[in-house]
């Protein structure tokens, strides 16, 4: 079992370290490869990788990640088609689209999927989220400067409440083969143990959730609280 954590040296933000931490608690026997931004990703030169993860970056560091990965976008697409599991959370999702646009710049991205990102650094958007992937309730929260506008059919989560790809879209994120890309923070894998269970069992059916009872208890309580019709899904500053 081999797990690659991509560019964590650029500093994952917004709790995304929790995705790594919980995943490694579930997959204690996994060989973990931390690839820094000056190195060639393991998945580029090797086809025996089970899962590649990348989390949220600052806007400046996101540029570095785009530049580094641009050289490998063909092999990245190939690995996706080979059913390697890829998980992108937070604004690392943006890298997979066509471009990121703000008031001053238009930054070309990898162009693997048919969406683009509009960013406004003067407006932080904070939302709770509830939706459905297959038969799994997905919960989480979003905190971002950007919205994405997608024409891509590779949708991930159907929105029930909260913010989707943008203020109108009823879908959130990208799902293609075993690539899952979502703006949901949370951290996503901790807040959604049933999804995490699905992922780790894709690697090996014998894999089990770490602290299964405790994490399911926390998940069920959260779902119950999020079903409260009075709950305001837009988040205010803390």
């Amino acid at each position: 079992m081999k797990i690659e954590i991509l560019y964590s040296d650029l500093g994952y933000y917004y709790g995304d370290n929790g995705n790594v931490s919980y995943l490694l608690n579930c997959l204690k026997d996994a060989q973990v490869i931390y690839t820094d931004n000056t190195s060639i990703p393991y998945f580029v030169q090797n086809d025996d990788i089970d899962l590649v993860y990348m989390g949220s970056l600052s806007e400046n560091k996101q540029l570095i990640a785009i530049e580094r990965l641009s050289k490998y976008k063909d092999i990245l697409k190939q690995r996706i088609n080979e059913n390697v599991i890829f998980l992108f959370t937070g604004n690392s999702l943006e890298i997979l689209g066509k471009y990121i646009e703000d008031e001053n710049n238009k930054i070309d991205c990898l162009g693997l999927y048919d969406f683009y990102t509009k960013r406004n650094l003067n407006s932080r958007i904070n939302y709770l989220f509830k939706g459905k992937y297959e038969d799994i309730d997905i919960v989480g929260n979003k905190s971002q400067y950007s919205l994405i506008y997608s024409n891509d059919n590779n949708t991930f989560i159907q929105v029930d409440k909260g913010l989707g790809n943008n203020l109108e879209d009823k879908y959130e994120g990208i799902h293609d083969h075993n690539l899952f890309a979502t703006y949901l923070l949370g951290p996503f894998l901790v807040l959604n143990p049933l999804f995490t269970q699905k992922i780790i069992k894709m690697i090996n059916p014998n894999n089990e959730l770490a602290y299964k009872k405790e994490i399911i208890d926390a998940y069920e309580l959260r779902i119950k609280q999020m079903n409260n019709p009075k709950l305001d899904y837009s988040l205010h500053e803390h």
Partner: protein, 456 residues
């Protein structure tokens, strides 16, 4: 017309301030909102005394502001200060209302203002500080601050317009020490005396901001605070003007221009030592003698909102603020617990939202080093609050022994799990929003302990 708008803001703001003072709520900053409602440029137009000091940065603003405010008061200076910590537009305007009379003439000698770093590009050029202390930058609430680079950018833009402002920078903070390119800069720091080699789950400074290669640290004092250099492009920490070279139980030693000066220690936590070094650097630069600063510091205590210590039946009970939603501040507080090997019991009250009105996000707890609680000296941990089940998962993944971990939703349930036998220190770590709850819990524990002694 412009002038009328301003004076309407000033007069109505001051009247509103007087009203809130009469109602026993003198620190209410709504008068500041009112003043800005009349005139958005209120802060720019309000008169300022000769000395206007701003204190900004992610962590340590309130403590540093309150220490400096207290020292100025001991010096018999009239000070306008937002000591309650209201540090955005409202609080800053409120402070300038206190600084002036109805004719916009300064009635204080000094303005000492805690100032939010995120809005600095808008507010600082209006306030035009003579001096600015930046404590540090680090990850903070993601909802407002996103990541530290956003605050850096705002401060950088502000300082481009404030070339006459003298800036006091933490030389050991690589995230803020390169600010103020065109300003007169004073660097403060602490030498290699802490020897922190702790691993952190999240690190705010791994790669060089110039070339993105991994940096090398000569030493860390806590988190990303320390002396670094980049082996690829030679970017490195600046030289330090005011360097803390020694820390003992009661004193710190500051080296400045080849002289060494001893000062009383206000708090032995490393993050408070950095704040204190900044305070000393500031007053020395203002021309006060080390001897005078020393005598003034001996009369200073940290504000009670941050820390309160009581001793009952030989048990030391420490109630210490630990900002929720702020992983860098919270991790630093958790790290401070490992500095003593005394037997400890910990109560965590970290949720900001105490009821069903909203669901608090827990991203921050996964950026926070709860791993420090996996320590032999910690005999019991009790978590109380609405997100108790989320904290339980986090603490278990931090390898905290499940046998010493108790989690409850309601504070009233926590007392049944307290066991202070063989415990030397009981910590109550609380989010600022849980201040009242933490005081109530502390008082009840003290009463119970006193009752038990009485019964025995």
């Amino acid at each position: 017309m412009e002038s009328i708008k301003f004076y309407l803001g000033l007069i109505s703001g001051k009247l509103a301030s007087a009203y809130f003072s009469l109602r026993g709520n003198p620190n209410n900053d709504r008068p500041g909102i009112l003043a800005r409602k009349f005139d958005e440029d209120f802060m720019a137009k309000a008169s300022k005394p000769e000395e206007v000091l701003l204190i900004s940065g992610t962590n340590g603003k309130s403590s540093t502001t309150n220490i400096i405010n207290s020292i100025y008061k001991l010096l018999d200076k009239k000070v306008a200060c937002n000591e309650a910590g209201n540090n955005t537009f409202a609080g800053e305007s409120w402070t300038l209302l206190q600084a002036n009379n109805y004719f916009n003439k300064p009635i204080v000698d000094v303005v000492v203002m805690e100032a939010d770093e995120l809005y600095s590009r808008i507010t600082f050029p209006q306030i035009k500080p003579t001096n600015l202390i930046i404590t540090n930058l680090g990850r903070d609430s993601m909802f407002k601050n996103a990541n530290p680079e956003v605050a850096y950018k705002s401060l950088d833009e502000a300082l481009e317009k404030l070339i006459d402002t003298k800036v006091f920078l933490n030389a050991d903070d690589p995230l803020s020490c390169f600010l103020g390119k065109n300003n007169k800069k004073i660097y403060y720091g602490v030498s290699n005396i802490i020897k922190d080699d702790a691993n952190h789950i999240s690190n705010d400074f791994i790669v060089c901001p110039k070339c993105f290669h991994k940096v090398i640290y000569e030493y860390h004092n806590y988190r990303h605070i320390g002396k670094f250099r980049c082996p690829n492009c030679d970017l490195k920490s600046p030289n330090i003007d005011y360097l803390c070279t020694k820390i003992s139980d009661k004193e710190i030693t500051i080296s400045h221009q080849h002289h060494e000066y001893d000062f009383p220690l206000i708090s032995n936590t490393i993050y408070n030592i950095y704040n204190q070094v900044a305070v000393i650097a500031y007053f020395m630069e203002m021309g006060y003698s080390p001897e005078l600063i020393k005598s003034l510091l001996s009369k200073i205590k940290l504000p009670e909102i941050r820390e309160e210590i009581n001793t009952v039946n030989d048990l030391k009970i420490i109630r210490r603020a630990m900002k929720g939603q702020n992983a860098s501040a919270a991790s630093t507080v958790l790290k401070s617990l490992c500095e003593s090997d005394k037997n400890k019991e910990i109560i965590l009250m970290l949720d900001e939202i105490p009821d069903e009105s909203a669901i608090e996000t827990i991203s921050w707890i996964w950026d926070t080093d709860f791993e420090f609680l996996n320590n032999d000296s910690i005999k019991r941990i009790i978590v109380s609050g609405k997100r108790y089940l989320d904290h339980k998962v986090r603490l278990l993944t931090a390898n905290v022994n499940p046998k010493i971990l108790f989690t409850v939703e309601d504070d009233e349930q926590l007392y049944q799990y307290l066991d202070t036998n063989n415990i030397e220190e009981l910590y109550i770590l609380y989010d600022i929003m849980a201040l009242k709850r933490s005081k109530k819990v502390m008082n009840k524990i003290i009463d119970n302990l006193k009752d038990n002694k009485h019964e025995n």
